[in-house]
Amino acid sequence: MATINLTHAVARDIRKAERPSRRAEFGRKLRRNSTAYLFLAGAILCFAVFSWYPMIREVIMSFQYTNFAGDTKWVGLHNYQHIMADPDFWSAWRTTGLFTLFALVFGYAVPFFLAVVLNEMRHARSYFRLLVYLPVMMPPVAAAFLWQWFYTPDDTGLFNAVLHALHLPSVQWLQSSHTLAVLCLVLFSTWINMGGTVLIYLASLQSIPGELYEAAEMDGAGIWGRIWHITIPQTRLILSMMLLLQIVGTMQVFTEPFVITGAANNTTTVVYLIYQYAFNFNNYGDAAALGVLLLLVLVGFAAGYLWLSRHADEE
């Protein structure tokens, strides 16, 4: 105790002695910090109003009931119980899950495979890069209407016309089974989005040192062996990151079912259901509760990704 008191006293004396310079130091620091926060002010204000506050408000609203007059009351978990009793809720999760699953096959595996093949091409590289990215630049709603027209169930639609020319039976596309309708949406989604993914994969494939392939070849690795032992491990980081982005992105799908199928054939997704709860039924509590649930799922994916990548680093 005594020593502590002594050091306190010494510290006080030192502080007293240093006071003028310390005050100047403090003023300088204050000025520097206030300038820095002045630069941050615009961004902080926008984040606070349009990101942080809505985030908190969403959680609060999910435990509240709001009527048309704007009166709110606390209802505990009632909103959560209410949406879980709604058959649309389960249907929306099933559709979203199916969409995400299909999108993993088409939107994730196909672009990677395509990029590996494109990276071997010695000619017309800019042709490939330009074309694959063209759909990305279309306004999404315009592209969605275009594909809706392609999917026309009678023979005037482009896809059925192609099937017809090949003497195959025509398909009902969006109006057939639920699975096929979701698959149609995924095909469209892949078409419009894959450009970015392909280009990112191409860039990361180019950063693989050529010596690795040479060494593998000398060890007698065939083409699949080289893909499995060199290409995939060397692009692992980008592959795993794109996997997370892909899952998080496709779990939020909205434009595709909203514009192309318009919720027909049970293709309502989770975000679409949030939209319906909020803006068709004016049921803010249910919409907020569903939003919180979706958020938890997405954060779960992100946390799992972080855990896995840390785990992989330790190995």
Binding site: W52, V141, A142, F150, I238, M241, F254, Y275
Partner: protein, 296 residues
């Protein structure tokens, strides 16, 4: 992108390609890819442009004609007039430029502050901003909408004003992250030298940091413009007034009760601005895409 043009050793070695079998296989794959890409990415666009030229009768003909019998440019004229496409395109461009301006001012200032001015709790604020990357805007769309409808304390409504697009666009944590990372690579000694010469923070930002940051500013600008042009759900909610709508929202709202061929013509017109934008800036867009994706 110069790495693209200098062929280094890839999966298949050059000796393997120069063998007769390898060469044949290469050309077969090459030409199949050329045809496949044309069929998958180019043909739908051709189908759209030519579909917009067909008459109502030809639209429902089976099998559909590949080349329109009678080129009817009248569809394009009526699409332009009926959907007021000029206004939709102008609106979207106006929102995109405004969002670009707001992001360049606020996000650049924020990234500069995080990187070079380094205030106390700066890292906490940065973390709080980057954490929003985990929280997609679609999930909190309802509370954000309610907030934009009645701002906290002042209770102004931003609905049906450009501010509803511009201000939320500033919350692009990814752009702040890209900018900060680029600013981090600018040597501090350079800024210290400027400070010795009596330059304040604004002066330093303007005359030293910004001229050095042209590449990343280009990337961020493209993200800002393309982001506004592609957004659908948010403008659908906040821009309900027909005269204020964007291309995406306008196409969706006005598609009802329009004949199919006019609608297709409208889609073709609506796609022109971004595709022209892409063809002009393709080099920057592709460089930005990989710069953003690679190290992110």
């Amino acid at each position: 992108m110069s790495a693209f043009d200098t062929p280094t050793r890839t999966l298949v070695s050059r000796t393997q390609l120069s063998r007769p079998l390898g060469r044949t296989l290469y050309w077969v794959v090459f030409w199949s890819l050329i045809v496949l890409f044309a069929a998958v990415f180019l043909f739908p666009l051709y189908w759209m442009v030519s579909g917009g030229m067909k008459s109502a009768q030809e639209m429902i003909q089976t099998p559909p004609t590949i080349v329109p019998h009678h080129v009817e440019l009248g569809n394009y004229a009526s699409a332009w007039k009926d959907l007021d496409l000029g206004r939709l395109i102008f609106n979207t461009g106006y929102y995109a430029l405004g969002a670009l301006a707001f992001q360049l001012v606020f996000d650049v200032a924020a990234a500069y502050s995080f990187s070079k001015l380094r205030p106390v709790f700066g890292n906490v604020v940065l973390f709080a901003m980057l954490a929003t990357l985990m929280i997609p805007t679609t999930v909190i769309i309802l509370p954000t909408y309610l907030t934009a409808n009645s701002l906290p304390f002042v209770h102004w409504s931003l609905l049906n004003t450009p501010w509803a697009i511009w201000l939320p666009s500033v919350t692009s944590a990814f752009n702040i992250f890209l900018l900060k990372r680029f600013f981090d690579s600018i040597p501090t000694e350079l800024l210290a030298a400027a400070a010795v010469d009596g330059a304040g923070p604004i002066r330093t930002l303007w005359s030293i940091v910004l001229p050095m940051s042209r590449p990343i500013l280009g990337v961020v600008s493209i993200f800002a413009v393309v982001g506004v042009w592609k957004d659908f759900l948010w403008p659908l909610l906040v821009l309900t007034d027909t005269s204020m709508q964007t291309v995406n929202v306008g196409l969706h709202q006005l598609s009802v009760g329009i004949s199919q061929n006019v609608l297709i013509a409208a889609l073709a017109i609506a796609s022109v601005p971004t595709i022209v934008f892409f063809l002009i800036f393709q080099r920057n867009i592709m460089a930005g895409l990989t710069a953003g994706g690679m190290k992110g």
